[in-house]
């Protein structure tokens, strides 16, 4: 067979096998990021993707890994195509593996379209500004750091945090407020444990009304697949948003695992590392994931993204959270002190920030007093937190009566407003509770709220 003319020519020219990579020589025709089929002597067939195209140094990363792979007899066939995922609306409510193939027992999917998973960049001048509110059901987010359709807002979490609970609750409870509009949720597990995965599946099944598509790549699954998983899921998200006019919320859990997979492949290629061994292109790579959130002119759909990132050793300057912060539009921070005080969700609104919040709240979106109220709660809570710190150093005696009111406010704000256990709150409920907590401090101190809102919304004694 002539390798130049026959599309199914199989090369037996593996030169070396390292990590999840195979290196091939004497290749006549190969293109960058092409998909290959690998035929092992024992009959197994694996898939791979070209990382470097070169006559004599083609590098292929093998999705299933190179475990038990043999060098001389293994055959490699180039498919002349990049990686594509088969898409179908039926994926909503289904469980897929990291490559988008169904793994539940609900049968095969009717595939409507196969698209390459590296989406083209959205033309920035065609983007429209994110400006519609998403209600997650959590007061600390909805009230103080609101999520907006088309935004990418990461959760920075710490080891030992109830991350799964928070993520599941957002996935199950999030809604868009506009009438007759629904929100589709895509949940993407990247390198989390199967036990966590099972928890999520259970939660999603319980919430039978929720439209959730579940893509899973667990700890035991291939790291090469892990690199593709978010792209597979995002291709599905874009398909829903821009071809089916849906509003999509996609949760990615956990980007730290993803980045470690990227680092592992990079070091197998013997690339010069940047910070902490991560490849120099980590920023660009993460950007090609995060920037796929958005909204585009002339289409009603949207892709909103919540990436979850564990901070190793609680360190926000670690490359993965750091670069995430540089690309996304704000951050939601989990907090150890809040967890210790049994606040659920243990999220600290002070260092959290939704940069697009102001676009998505107010008249016609949430409520006219939302921005004022959020400002006031934020200011009063930070004053309370500072005083709490002071009191812990100098003792409560050093505080005057007014200071003590703020201490009390901080307590009540945490236990009533942030803390909500398993309940889902509407934005109305969130705002109402916000107002109630403010009754602890003097009404004259509410200098962030305009008078007309105080007159209208300040709780009456009852």
């Amino acid at each position: 067979m002539n390798p130049e003319t026959s599309p199914t020519f199989r090369y037996k020219t593996i030169d070396s096998i390292q990590g999840t990579l195979i290196f091939l020589k004497s290749i006549f025709n190969v293109s960058y990021e092409e998909i290959v089929n690998i035929y092992m002597p024992d009959g197994q067939v694996r898939k791979g993707q070209v990382l470097q195209a070169d006559e004599n140094a083609t590098i292929v990363q093998v999705f299933e890994g190179t475990h038990s792979m043999e060098r001389v007899e293994t055959e490699v066939e180039f498919t002349k195509d990049v990686f594509r995922v088969g898409l179908s609306e039926q994926m909503i409510g289904r469980t897929m593996n990291g490559l988008g193939q169904p793994i539940d027992d609900l049968g095969p999917l009717f595939v409507e379209k196969r698209l390459p998973i590296t989406g083209a960049p959205m033309n920035p001048v065609r983007r429209t500004n994110p400006e519609d509110f998403i209600e997650t059901g959590l007061s600390v987010i909805d009230g103080l750091n609101s999520l907006v359709q088309g935004q990418k807002l990461p959760i920075f979490t710490l080891s030992g945090m109830p991350t799964s609970e928070v993520a599941a609750s957002i996935a199950v409870n999030s809604r868009v407020l506009a009438e007759e509009q629904e929100l589709d949720v895509i949940f993407v597990a990247m390198g989390i444990t199967e036990r966590e995965g099972r928890y999520f599946r259970l939660k999603f099944e319980e919430a039978s009304g929720a439209n959730i598509a579940f893509f899973s790549n667990y700890t035991m699954d291939s790291i090469v697949e892990r690199i593709l998983t978010p792209r597979v899921a995002l291709t599905f998200a874009e398909y829903l948003a821009y071809e089916k006019d849906r509003n999509v919320l996609i949760l990615l859990h956990d980007l730290l695992n993803y980045s470690e997979a990227l680092r592992e492949i990079s070091s197998a290629r013997e690339e010069f590392p940047g910070r902490r061994g991560y490849p120099g292109y980590l920023y660009t790579d993460l950007a090609t994931i995060y920037e796929r959130a958005g909204k585009v002119e002339g289409k009603p759909g949207s892709v909103t993204m919540i990436p979850i990132v564990t901070l190793p050793n609680d360190d926000i300057t670690h490359p993965v959270p750091d670069l995430t912060g540089y690309i996304t539009e704000g951050q939601l921070l989990m907090s150890r002190p809040h967890l210790k005080r049994d606040i659920s969700p243990p999220m600290n609104p002070i260092p959290s920030l939704s940069r697009l919040m102001n676009e998505g709240i107010g008249v016609g979106k949430t409520r006219e007093d939302h921005a004022n109220l959020a400002n006031q709660l934020f200011a009063s809570y930070s004053r309370g937190m500072k005083l709490r710190q002071l009191a812990s150093i100098a003792g409560e005696d050093s505080l005057n009566d007014r200071d003590r009111q703020y201490l009390k406010f901080a307590d009540i704000f945490e236990s009533k407003f942030i803390n909500q256990g398993d309940t889902r709150r509407t934005i109305e409920e969130t705002l109402t509770i916000g107002w109630e907590t403010l009754t602890v401090i003097p009404k004259t101190d509410l200098n962030r709220i305009s008078k007309k809102f105080i007159d209208k919304y300040y709780p009456t004694e009852a």
């Binding site: 083209a120 033309n123 001048v125 300057t317 490359p319 750091d322 697009l356």
Partner: protein, 578 residues
Amino acid sequence: MPGIIKRIAGPVVFVYGLKKPKKNYIVEVGEEKLLGEIIQIRGDVSIIQVYEETSGLGIKEPVYAIDKPLTVRLGPGVMSTVYDGIQRPLDLLEGSFIGKGEKTSPLDLKKKWFFIPESNMTLGTKLQGGEILGRIQETETVENRILVPPNVHGELKELASEGKYVVSDNLARITNPSQDLELPFYHDWPVREPRPFKSRILSNKPFLTGQRILDFLYPLVEGGSAMIPGGFGTGKTVLNRTLAKFASTQIMQMTLCGERGNEAADALHSFLKLTDPTTGRLMIDRTSIIANTSNMPVAAREASIYMGVSIAEYYRDMGYTVSVMADSTSRWAEALREISGRLGEIPGEEGFPSYLPKLIGQFYERSGRCITLSGLEGSITIIGAVSPQGGDFSEPVTQYTMRFTTTLWALDTDLARSRHFPAISWRISYSQNVREIAEYLKKEVAPDWHEYRTRISTILQEEEELERIVRLIGKDTLSETQKGLLLTAELIREGFLQQNAFSDEDAFSSAQKSYRMAKAILLAHELIEERVQKEGLLVDPLYEEQLIEDIKRLKELNIDGIKEFTDQLPSRVKELKF
């Protein structure tokens, strides 16, 4: 004979068989003719960085040499267009997503412009590069002065007469012993080469930003260069945007380099609506935007910085004051790192190529005030945002940039987290331009502005020392005078330095207003201190006084309001009760 692709690794392609390849010359890569640039030549192999996505590109595909370096096309129509990093006008590209191999002319080829030749231009004139042949009103605000390209000279044989032309029409014919040139209304310029000018001149005019902390404490000179380092979310982009709106400059070039798509969209949408406070015209009329977001091809991100500064130089050569805002130069440096890594170069610090400091230096060297080739005065002020890894200023890009810029506007993560905006740190920031602009401000603002500047920074510094004492041994040990100083420092921080970019009254503060505010706050300080020292007035209760709240809200008043407030200060301080 085209070259043949040998290897593809991300944006880097190795090609053999290119005939006489020239470094920095462009090529068309593969069947899809993707734009690329030759960045290294090793024997028979040319190494090319490709400005578009290479996924699906195959070895053995052809590569065609184009006999010119990477250039920017300069002519009427550049202003107010949004380009990507390789000068494709983004609104002319098809569809919502950017496809591969799309080619679009940088300038509108159909649009007719009204050209008025210079009245003193007679045929036979001996012309040098950079001379002005005529004018076109490019936008409502900007008059494009049509230049002889900098590298062209000779005798004027023909010149278009007054009338309407498209950019490709004949503007002029210029001959010299070796050439006979027909010039259109545009010319191409190799982006990596600085455009020539006659001579550098010193500048004594400040680059006023309308930001109190910048104009008052860390002023930048027109034609200078400043850096804005800051961790994520500290306010680099908001500051950039605020300066783009309010800074004293005739032309604004914004290079959005490797940042967010939503921000680029927001900038564009708002500039299409906002009016420029000085001219009353639309902001976009004097703004040129290059948007190469983080998910767009990385090599084009590398080029975008040079595109931007070349466009700025083009307008400088017409005699304008121009500013370049680059957000963020770290993303450019990272693009260099990424490409260098694919070339297998031995890296310098933290994986960055060892030639990075040189390139950063050369970029900022393109700022300055100068006499242009046609004898006009023009200037370029460069302001570069830097995004330090981990918010740590000791990292290479921050450190290199510090060496080549004169002014440091350092953003502080703690200030930003406590919502003190702009989060510019008065501990780290500096300006090396204060002496140059002092005379100008003395004349234009007030003879004694400098004394106020000194006192403000002294008080902030003393506050820091007092805070250290407080942390060590508690507040009780402070004297009332010292407590008074802490009160004033708070007034300065909250009442003077803080400036909300989204507030209608205070997003912009004129130099005069800033001066008046400083004066009022320091007068209040003196008056209070006097009562504290002479009468034993206690400082702590003052924090609850309406007067203090009013001083913090001084920024909401206009200059007359501030003057009036200042006049009332003595009696209001006198009224303070024990």
